[in-house]
Subunit: 325 residues, 2 copies
């Protein structure tokens, strides 16, 4: 079966726009932004072997490609509105497209986020999605707002995606049921969209965890001009990861990557509102540390790791870097 | 020399945002859209060997990657505001990045369009740009507005990019100076941004020419529910192309691709305003035909080609299709 580019777009991706002023099929899509709101946008490019394994089912790839973008909107506290999809495919593969579009639209529909345009071309598999959301003027959660004395929180559980990756890499093994649990965390991350919106006006800063806790935290610290203390035994993780040796737990929770949880700060006085936001969004929140003053002016941002007794813990880890890993 | 991902972004792409509410460095960029305006967006993905040849200098690639996107804004009559860049690179190549970013920012600055975010990763070379522009509410030029009796116009000259491609393919040869002229047309297209804005309220429909006149015209006809008559001898082309055999002229002007001129329609009564828009934008405009009623209800859109005497001309050509070519 041979489908041309335009037929291909139509068959799998052309759905009528309901919210956008103008959707697929013209030179541009057009979005209305109500008075008092601003448009938040983010874009992520996914490449096979870097961002997903060849073993990933197309339906889960469709989910994940949009999920990692929605996670950026969540970190800003934005309400998802629309997205564009640019797709390079080595060949027209209808089984792939059917699964990919099914997973993509299932997540899009769950968040009221509609496809408004994009591009398809032949080439090495590459998925580039841009998402658009609305956020009140001056209401976006930023990386730069952490202040000395703020508590540091994380949503959900950390490290399962990294644990699954280590199984794929063959560095450890898990029983079948446990593997499916962590594999699902890696392949089907749930962007914390409702939580992000609930944290507007509550959190002082936020970021989504894509490259590992320590690396992503360092971005917040650098942009906020502060340091942090993280209580390593407070880091939330699943029962599957908790059953692993402590060294594996620390690797996965501190430097995991692909968590797509929110890391955020809030003043201690706002602890009740933080708790309420977690309940409203149906997501567990854990206080994992606090923001402290910059140890030395002009120095790089620093995160001190301490155990439950407050003693320093040594840990060597770097953020995931696509050009170093 | 080894640069990590974040250093790389900073060195070549991190420039302070002047117009965006929030630029590079957070989870999302944030754009303000003034009351009475809407946001137009488009995205194009460029793959080596499909959209550009390996012989293309990095500086020109940077120009072209943004130019093809600005051309979509032009076709909507939108004013460029910002763009995001997602870039997959096989390796960190500073000579490439220096040239690419120079060409990219030169064109961006010429149109007041600022880089507000993006993504970089390792992978087969792939460039995905999303552009954002402003257009008055209900003021965007659409493909769907062509009406029976409208005149059909095109900006600039057609076919030089295709002529250059044929030289690269070895199907014909050109003298050095002529080759450089058409090569520049292929590699450094000038998006008709000022013209698009000048045509708001004047043109009844518009599209940018990226896949060849006949193919792109068919999109307008299909969405407008009309047919067209094109006067083949009226098609504007350069002196270099005019010196080629008629068969080459027709191939290049009708099915060329990569022209990035605007094709638009307007009622005959608006001819003076069309002329004024061309003068204001500093771009030559040529009337190349007219819109006629759909020959048969339920049939596909049809373009009749006629010569200067009105006689039918036969021509076989298809639009460029990335999955068929």
């Amino acid at each position: 079966m041979s489908l041309g580019e335009f037929d291909l777009i139509k068959k799998y991706f052309d759905r009528p726009a309901r919210r956008a002023a103008l959707g697929i099929g013209d030179d541009c899509a057009v979005l209305a932004v109500p008075s008092g709101m601003q448009l938040a946008t983010s874009c992520d490019m996914l490449v096979e072997g870097r961002h997903f394994l060849s073993t990933l089912a197309p339906e889960r790839l469709g989910h994940k490609a949009l999920a990692v973008n929605l996670s950026d909107l969540a970190a800003c506290g934005a309400e998802p509105q629309a997205f564009t999809l640019a797709l390079a495919l080595p060949r027209v593969d209808e089984a792939f497209l059917a699964g990919f579009s099914r997973g993509l639209f299932a997540l899009a529909d769950a968040h009221g986020c509609e496809l408004i345009g994009g591009d398809t071309t032949r080439g090495p598999l590459n998925i580039c999605i841009s998402v658009f959301g609305q956020v009140p003027v001056a209401g976006a959660l930023l990386r730069s707002g952490a202040r000395v004395g703020d508590d540091l929180y994380v949503s959900g559980a950390l490290g399962d995606a990294r644990l699954a990756l280590e199984v794929f890499r063959g560095t450890l093994t898990l029983a079948g049921g446990d593997f499916e649990t962590v594999r699902r965390a890696m392949e089907m991350p749930q962007p914390r969209v409702a939580l992000g919106q609930a944290l507007r006006g509550v959190a002082s800063s936020a970021i989504d965890l894509s490259d590992g806790l320590l690396g992503d935290l360092s971005h917040v610290l650098r942009r906020s001009g502060v340091d942090a203390v993280v209580e390593i035994d407070a880091l939330p993780c699943s029962a599957v990861l908790r059953a692993q040796p402590v060294a594996v737990q620390r690797l996965c929770t501190l430097s995991g990557g692909d968590d797509y949880e929110l890391l955020f700060t809030a003043p201690p006085a706002r602890a009740p509102q933080v708790s309420a936001a977690g309940i409203a969004a149906g997501v567990a929140l854990t206080r994992i540390g606090r923001i402290v003053g910059r140890a030395a002016a002009g120095h790089a941002a620093h995160t001190a790791l301490v155990d439950a007794k407050g003693y320093a813990v040594m840990h060597h880890a770097a953020s995931f870097d696509h050009f170093r890993a």
